[in-house]
Subunit: 223 residues, 2 copies
Amino acid sequence: MWQLFQFPLCPFSRKVRLLLGEKGVGYELVRESPWQRRDEYVDLNPTGRTPIIRDAARDITLIDSAAICEYFEETVDAKPMISGTAANRAEIRRLVAWFDEQMYADVVAPLLDERMKKRLIHRAPPDGGTLRNAMRAANDHLDYIDYLLDHRSWIAGATLSLADLAAAAHLSVADYLGGVDWTGHEHAKGWYAGLKSRPSFRPLLSERMEVITPPKHYELLDF
Amino acid sequence: MWQLFQFPLCPFSRKVRLLLGEKGVGYELVRESPWQRRDEYVDLNPTGRTPIIRDAARDITLIDSAAICEYFEETVDAKPMISGTAANRAEIRRLVAWFDEQMYADVVAPLLDERMKKRLIHRAPPDGGTLRNAMRAANDHLDYIDYLLDHRSWIAGATLSLADLAAAAHLSVADYLGGVDWTGHEHAKGWYAGLKSRPSFRPLLSERMEVITPPKHYELLDF
């Protein structure tokens, strides 16, 4: 049985969970708080970050969310998520990297710092300026998603792909932390409503991080 | 004809160039200084980072160094660099991400900031503390490479892979900037000497960044 080491608001773990959900791969969750840098976890994964996925019986440990997604794309045929021509696949990977690096750095990491880590670890109030910048950046990222969806059915082209799952994973964490204002982003909102209703997404939406409560609209399909 | 947009000390461009060199793919270099955020470049690539590779005649633009490497791995059979079982391929991708994220953040980015950008852009002296930390981190990364090579022929396993090219790309930039002390790292040194002598590496080693001169040992096969 695969064990996924993660915490509920880790966007990279959410991306992997959406992929596993779409492909119908079963797994068990193991709670890991990477900021604690638990020795046994750092021994498994020198980066100390989440997620990793491990099958102890077969002694396989996969590290790095992109490498994990490529592994399941290669080994599980159901619901290909990095598909099409080589150029299509490059476009999917470009956009996954865009959300994992750019949206994470601009929006999700500062929200996690201000609204999760300061509360859970540092017991300090969030910084208003940092929050405002993150929310302004979230708005720019939604503009870009609107732009992509203006001439495509899905983020990276004609079919649902890992780029949609990555974008939704990051946005869902930002939304949980109250960082997303959907007003005026009709394309992005319609696309996200569609993703929210998928069976792969439902378990994520019903999960809660200790202490931190999401806004009312977070779990609603009509938001 | 492929055009690779890059600057001589971009480690991500070096990784792509090593892959293209190994596979025998021809390309032309286009100098791009990402810190200038040239409008035409940002129009092609919203991240503004290097490298991208473009075939104007076929109107293909590939963005993100990992996506570019996967593209050429998929489309050019010669010298596979992400090969083996799915688990081997995951290990190669894990290590590429390790060097691209961790070694870059700990070692290469601070060296580029202090020894390149401060000189070329800000006309300011480097910060000694930051340099010392980067060089200490370089030593830790060489220890990890020594450890990997202690029980493997190459970084990710029995054969040369993209993980070796990524590690060498980052180390070569750090070495150019005087950030690497090879003393006491015999495994890593022997491995790097072997890579330096490959035809794919020679053109990188003879190239120079304006104003900044590498240390004497940089280009030598016996260093």
